[in-house]
């Protein structure tokens, strides 16, 4: 079977439609992950021991099990208890919870990497807890986190094809339906690969830039 540019041209609009959903799912998923990660991190670091332990276990559990099965769980099991979600919403929640557990680790490491002396100095200069966080701790903790968080953003983007398994019409699913209805697999499947490769090569350059921009904070 030969590569057919005409077929590529015909199917491109459908694939672009899918790409939009892929990007939308990534954007929404990353917002959910950022928020859920923060909740997990705060619970693990400040909640009373029993709650902190339960949270730690939940994080370990979510990280140790496949995203695909978690998506199935959200999409197929929750309707049994009366929560019926549209596929895209279920997918975004699944992505958000899964990558939220990774983000939680990044937050925790970032906050713990702020030297003890900074906390003590804040106390010595009589800053309130709120002032300490906003003016001393977070400005030092957040910049080193940014490259790591961006790394997980790229990882999440690459995992979005899994949403096709719960019927979200994203890039992979569009490609599959084109392939199945035309019995041509080479072009759609290769194009999906090329799309993802291009996007992630661009994001790798972006990531290098972020690293160069934000990882020098400690050297000052």
């Amino acid at each position: 079977m030969e590569w057919d540019w005409e077929f590529v041209r015909q199917t491109m609009p459908t694939l672009i439609e899918g790409l939009k959903i892929t990007i939308l799912a990534t954007a929404l998923g990353s917002v959910v992950a950022a928020v859920i990660g923060l909740v997990f991190a705060i619970l693990r670091m400040t909640a009373p021991p029993p709650i902190a332990r339960v949270t730690s276990f939940a994080v370990e559990f979510i990280r140790g099990t496949p995203l695909l099965v978690q998506l199935y769980f959200i999409f197929y099991v929750l309707p049994d208890i009366g929560i019926r979600l549209p596929a895209l919403v279920a997918g975004v929640i699944g992505l958000g919870i899964h990558y939220g557990t990774y983000a939680a680790e990044v937050y925790r490491a970032g906050i713990e990497n702020v030297p003890r002396g900074q906390w003590e100095a804040a106390k010595a200069t009589n800053l309130t807890v709120r002032q300490t966080w906003i003016h001393v701790i977070l400005p030092q903790a957040i910049p080193p986190m940014i490259p790591a968080l961006a790394n997980y953003l790229i990882a999440m983007f690459k995992e979005t094809p899994l949403l096709s398994a719960i019927t979200v019409l994203e890039l992979m699913n569009q490609a599959k339906s084109i392939a199945n209805s035309n019995y041509r697999y080479i072009e759609p499947m290769t194009l999906v690969g090329v799309f993802f490769l291009i996007m992630s090569l661009i994001s790798v350059f972006f990531l290098r830039w972020l690293e160069a921009r934000y990882s020098r904070v400690e050297e000052r």
Binding site: L68, V69, V77, G193, F196
Partner: protein, 219 residues
């Protein structure tokens, strides 16, 4: 009341397929990781370029896309693989690319003075790598390899989408036959978690094993 014993058997069959995939995929990944990781440190430009291309390509797309590509596009090039072969190949190559970066990082982390000592002792490059560098680099690689193995285990769920009857696939079968959703999915989530736990437990044991005798070597 549904008779669960038959369905549990089905899921356990799937679990066995998942275990096989994980073991074979990891074996391929380790081989590929060392080949590509050391390839990136090669003296020869061509080898370095080849290894870099491989790593960037497989890290740039997800396991899902690669698996579908291997399963659906390769047949047109005359290579037809069974789902199991396709699964092992895609998983091994994908995780191998991540592993290659780990190998490279660990080898580069071994101090210059070790290499200089090798040159002073007139060891060949192969001898230096085999007897001096790798034994010290291996303990540095293992924790990340453990994480990669867990990633690979999680990746195996994707093969259910190319109709390989792994644990996730069997859970879908049970769901279709019984209409019950909670029990099959909760069961396999638990089984995946136990497997992930076993991997990290085994890796910790291996770490203690290979770092034996290295106390005091590193500062």
């Amino acid at each position: 009341m549904i008779d669960w014993s038959g369905y549990i058997g089905l899921i356990l069959q799937g679990a066995w397929v998942t275990v096989q995939l994980t073991l074979m995929g990891s074996a391929l990944a380790v081989v590929v990781a060392f080949a590509a990781g050391l390839g990136r440190l090669s003296r020869f430009m061509a080898v370095r370029a080849l290894a870099t291309t491989y790593i960037e390509f497989f890290r740039g797309t997800s396991i899902f896309v690669q698996l579908f590509w291997v399963y659906f596009v390769l047949p047109f090039a005359g290579i037809t693989l069974t789902p199991l072969q396709a699964g092992v190949l895609a998983l091994g190559l994908n995780v191998g690319a991540y592993g290659a970066e780990v190998v490279r990082g660990a080898v580069k982390a071994i101090g210059r003075e070790q290499r200089e000592a090798c040159i002073a002792l007139n060891l060949t490059r192969f001898q230096a790598m085999r007897h001096i560098v790798l034994p010290q680099a291996l303990p540095l690689m293992l924790p990340t390899f453990g994480n990669n193995a867990i990633e690979l285990l999680k990746g195996t769920a994707v093969v259910s989408l190319i109709s390989l009857s792994d644990m996730t696939f069997q859970a879908q079968v049970v769901r279709a036959q019984t209409g019950s959703t909670l029990i099959p999915f909760a069961t396999i989530l638990l089984l995946y978690f136990v497997m992930a736990w076993l991997i990290s437990f085994g890796m910790r044991w291996l770490e203690r094993r290979v770092s034996r005798g290295l106390d005091g070597v590193r500062v």
